[in-house]
């Protein structure tokens, strides 16, 4: 019996075939923590008596969530991470101002590559699956163990195959593919499983959109979300990979627990309603939803391509009265590039507030937290109760194009509408 991509990745690392359901202990290529999860892991690491990380080149610590510090307690957390990173001479330590959100930063700088096994103490570590890496989120204790030993254990997941076919409509993005998919299978539809994304419509997606799809694997409960590496993957990694990528693909006779075919040719931009990512509707079924805030950013959709689309729609337009638009580039590199391309100027002239790279309001941390009864459209990945602030606030999820168009009109809007194009 052939192996799925998830099985192939683990098998390559172990040097022997594996099968879904088996428990394996594998060496990891990279472990990652952030300013929320690393301090807890560092405490556990030290309490267990560990004195050395397994490899200072393969432990990445990124200050991303509450940075720059929003209060004294978060400053203390970040400094625990700094002390540890400096003491252990970590090559991939990114303090405030040098990195950004880990899941955008690590692929962008080639710190994770195709074929890697990665554990990160953040649930959206699954983002790197877009490169064909077995990458998954764990908690702080697992991070501590992996930092000390360079190993972790997994149950080899079963795999669901998702095949996307057809020519997508204008304004339909990877975000819409994945929101629609979560709607189809539910918030636990891929619980404990690998999601394997393939088909000609995924083959045509740029790497940024693929990263968005893999990013939201966890919103369907999935363990990893893998895109089959192809020429686009190779081109993306060519000038950035810091280690040699290994491009693996599933065997033709691999065993899948489910096969789901999605025809994207009729898919519209999608919007997830409060308070679950699965409560997704096509834009034409959204109705009149007035907004108080629009947030463009996060590890899901804070990349340069996202900001370019948003700027294209905001160019020469103004944010609706009484609406806040918050734009946060996901990394400092994205920020700089956006500055050089003039995108930041477009945002500021439209009336947006722009900040340095941080998770910010995505998790209700700072820089745009919602009050009771407020309604926000966000390009991030979660709309749970209280996620972005007050439990009485409402969060809708959509692509950057829908977000930018909605910021202009003040209600959830199709991008074609503000450009005067016919809505497909």
């Amino acid at each position: 019996m052939g192996m799925t991509l998830a099985e192939k990745l683990l098998a390559a690392k172990l040097g022997r075939p594996v099968e879904a359901g088996e428990l394996v202990e594998v060496p990891v290529d990279l472990v990652m923590g952030n300013d929320i999860t690393a301090p807890v892991a560092i405490h556990a690491f030290e309490a267990a008596g560990a004195t050395r990380v397994f490899d200072p080149d393969r432990v990445a610590l990124v200050a991303s969530h509450f940075v720059p510090a929003r209060d004294a307690s978060s400053a203390n957390q970040t400094s625990i991470m700094r002390r540890f990173a400096l003491a252990h001479n970590l090559r991939h330590y990114y303090p405030e101002g040098t990195g950004g959100i880990e899941h955008t930063l690590l692929p962008e700088r080639g710190i994770v590559v195709s074929g890697d096994i990665v554990v990160g103490a953040d649930s959206h570590t699954c983002t790197y699956g877009a490169l064909g890496a077995f990458a998954t989120g764990v908690g702080s204790t697992d991070l501590a163990y992996a930092m000390a030993t360079g190993r972790t254990w997994f149950k080899v997941p079963e795999t669901m195959s998702f095949m996307y076919h057809g020519q997508r409509q204008p304004w339909v993005t990877g975000k819409d593919f994945i929101l629609h998919t979560i709607h189809l299978i539910g918030d636990d539809g891929a619980l404990y499983r690998s999601m394997e994304f393939s088909g000609d419509a995924v083959g045509q997606l740029p790497m940024e959109d693929r990263l968005t799809m893999s990013n939201m694997t966890i919103e369907a409960g999935g363990k990893v979300g893998l895109v089959l590496p192809d020429a686009i993957t190779e081109a993306y990694e060519r000038d950035r990979a810091l280690r040699t990528p290994h491009f693996l693909t599933p065997d033709p006779d691999a065993a899948y627990v489910a096969r789901i075919d999605v025809d994207v040719s009729r898919l519209e931009p999608q919007v997830a309603f409060p308070s679950l990512p699965s409560k997704t509707r096509p834009l034409s079924d959204v109705g009149d939803v007035p907004l108080d805030q629009v947030f463009i950013g996060s590890c899901t959709n804070g990349r340069l391509t996202d900001l370019r689309i948003a700027a294209r729609l905001l160019q020469g337009r103004r944010v609706a009265p009484n609406l806040r638009l918050i734009v946060i580039p996901a990394t400092q590199d994205v920020y700089l590039q956006a500055l050089q391309e003039g995108l930041i100027e477009v945002f500021v002239q439209a009336g947006a507030m722009v900040s340095a790279a941080t998770c910010g309001p995505c998790l209700g941390g700072h820089t745009g937290v919602l009050g009771a009864g407020e309604r926000c459209l966000s390009t991030s990945n979660r709309n749970y109760v209280g996620r972005m602030g007050d439990p009485g606030a409402e969060v809708y999820l959509a692509s950057p194009a829908v977000a930018a168009a909605s910021a202009v009109t003040g209600r959830i809007t199709h991008p074609a509408e503000i450009l005067g194009e016919e809505v497909a």
Partner: protein, 173 residues
């Protein structure tokens, strides 16, 4: 024995412990805020020993280990649910919070029922209704991990062995 606090499907980590409190890893500081966004009656009304009962996909969302830590800090000895989200499940075992899958218990138990878990027998007893439900045994590997005192206890043992090994080789570390 404790009272059941019964909730629905997809109890996510943002309602178990909102992000604004993630500036400490101390269970005693996290505990008082456990579930406050989902059920304001829980933080003030529950007593140590009370048990949380959820539906499908309990603990979905972020990887924050602060979620099982907050539950532990609230004095809740275990969680029963139809199913658990992957990372939450793993974290709970790693920090020594038992989590039991039992669709029967989750269906049979109502808010406020007096319940008792007999883990050794694989049973949940509902004193209020005179019912009992089976719980799914943990996979053996995870049971061993829990019995050994969690993942960090295992790391301590491994490091001790390594230390002895190094000494044997004439090492000095």
């Amino acid at each position: 024995m404790g009272r059941a606090w019964k909730y629905g499907d997809n109890v996510d980590t943002d309602v178990i412990i909102p992000a604004r409190y993630l500036v400490t890893g101390d269970p005693n500081q996290l505990g008082p805020h456990c579930l406050e966004n989902l059920d304001p009656a829980f933080p003030t009304g529950h007593k140590p020993g009370d048990i949380i009962v959820g539906g499908r996909n309990f603990g979905c969302g972020s990887s924050r280990e602060h979620a099982p830590l907050a539950i532990k800090g609230a004095g809740v000895p275990c969680v029963i649910a139809v199913s658990f989200a992957r990372i939450f499940f793993r974290n709970a075992i790693n920090i020594g919070l038992p989590v039991y899958e039992s669709p029967e218990a989750a269906a049979g138990i109502s808010m406020g029922d007096e319940i008792e878990v007999e883990a050794g027998k694989g049973m949940v007893l509902n004193r209020t209704r005179g019912e009992q439900y089976a719980i799914r045994p943990l996979p053996p590997f995870m049971q061993e991990l829990l019995d050994a005192g969690g993942l960090m206890a295992r790391l301590t043992q491994e490091l001790a062995r390594e230390h002895v090994g190094n000494m044997g080789n004439g090492g000095t570390t």
